[in-house]
């Protein structure tokens, strides 16, 4: 009887270590930093088409320190299960001028529209305007959809470094 009790006590101790570790991992992943694999052509040349592993921090957007020029992870307004990686070009109150099809001749900008980003929203755009579905198609997105800020590229190792403005 005493043997079973000591075995049970040891089992509980071991399991509690594992549970604590998993909780710590979950809290860090959700609220501090996480690694994300991003791929696609919409952020060339900043991010590779075949995929990069980047470090994302989840603190700045909670305290409102995410602004124009930042690379962010945003939940797609068209498909809530998808997460997009785009750059914020304008925040609430800014005026945005954009063309849906970037013209070959930059001096002629037909189909150019401008609008003011409404309250509580941001304007996101991919760096590769020719292959990106972003705010030019679905409009400004609410700030609450921002999941985190990308700040470091971890993989591939030859392009390890911070991803700035």
């Amino acid at each position: 009887m005493r043997q079973w009790r000591s075995i049970a006590r040891e089992a509980v101790a071991q399991v509690s270590i594992v549970v604590k570790f998993l909780s710590f991992l979950h809290v860090t992943d959700s609220y501090l930093f996480s690694f994300t694999h991003v791929l696609g052509p919409s952020m060339l040349p900043t991010l590779n088409i075949n995929g990069d592993v980047v470090l994302v921090e989840h603190l700045s957007h909670r305290i409102g320190k995410v602004g124009a020029g930042d690379l962010v992870l945003v939940r797609s307004p068209l498909d809530p299960r998808k997460t997009l990686t785009k750059r914020i070009l304008a925040v609430e109150g800014d005026k945005v001028t954009f063309c849906l099809d970037p013209p070959r001749d930059p001096t002629r900008d037909y189909r150019s529209r401008s609008l003011v980003v409404p309250k509580g929203h941001v304007w996101i755009q991919g760096d590769n305007w020719y292959a990106s579905t972003d705010s030019r198609h679905f409009g400004p997105v609410p700030y609450g959809l921002i999941q985190g800020k990308v700040f470091l590229r971890v993989w591939p190792p030859n392009s390890f470094g911070s991803l700035g403005q």
Binding site: P80, K119, G120, H121, G144
Partner: protein, 141 residues
């Protein structure tokens, strides 16, 4: 069942005007679950809590009226006229409205809300004691 949200904004079925008597607004404590949001098992008529699209720090509590693709008819300005408008909820969005449409800032003001802003579904009232129990379906006007 993850968190208890305590909010002290306009209660769901109030008839008092908050501008006139602020002390009429009491606290409701609701039990909120997040599983339905993740699995997508929401239906029109559910009470949901979501992040406000205009003030990202605020969490608001409204009733789900339409999912993506649904046709929604709503009264544009119930205080002044009976004019109705019908729209189709765009892809990836939901239409939310407060129960007391005379004094509610909801999708009639800020448009359809992206599904990603939904935080949870409220299914049980804890406080006040007289309202303890599951949340009632939308009262017929």
């Amino acid at each position: 069942m993850e968190q208890l949200y305590i909010y002290s904004e306009k209660p769901l079925f109030a008839l008092c005007y908050p501008q006139i008597c602020r002390h009429c607004c009491y606290c409701n404590v609701l039990l909120v679950e997040r599983i339905s949001i993740r699995t997508g098992k929401l239906r029109p008529g559910d009470v949901v809590i979501l992040r406000s699209p205009q003030t990202p720090r605020k969490i608001i509590c409204k009733r789900l009226i339409g999912m993506e693709g649904d046709q929604v008819t709503y009264v544009v300005d119930p205080k002044n006229s009976d004019r109705c408008k019908t729209i189709v909820v765009p892809k990836g969005h939901v239409w939310v409205e407060g129960d007391y449409i005379y004094d509610s800032k909801d999708s009639r003001n800020f448009g359809a809300v992206p599904y990603g802003l939904l935080e949870g579904r409220a299914f049980w009232t804890l406080l006040p004691r007289k309202d303890f129990g599951s949340l009632a379906p939308k009262p017929k006007s």
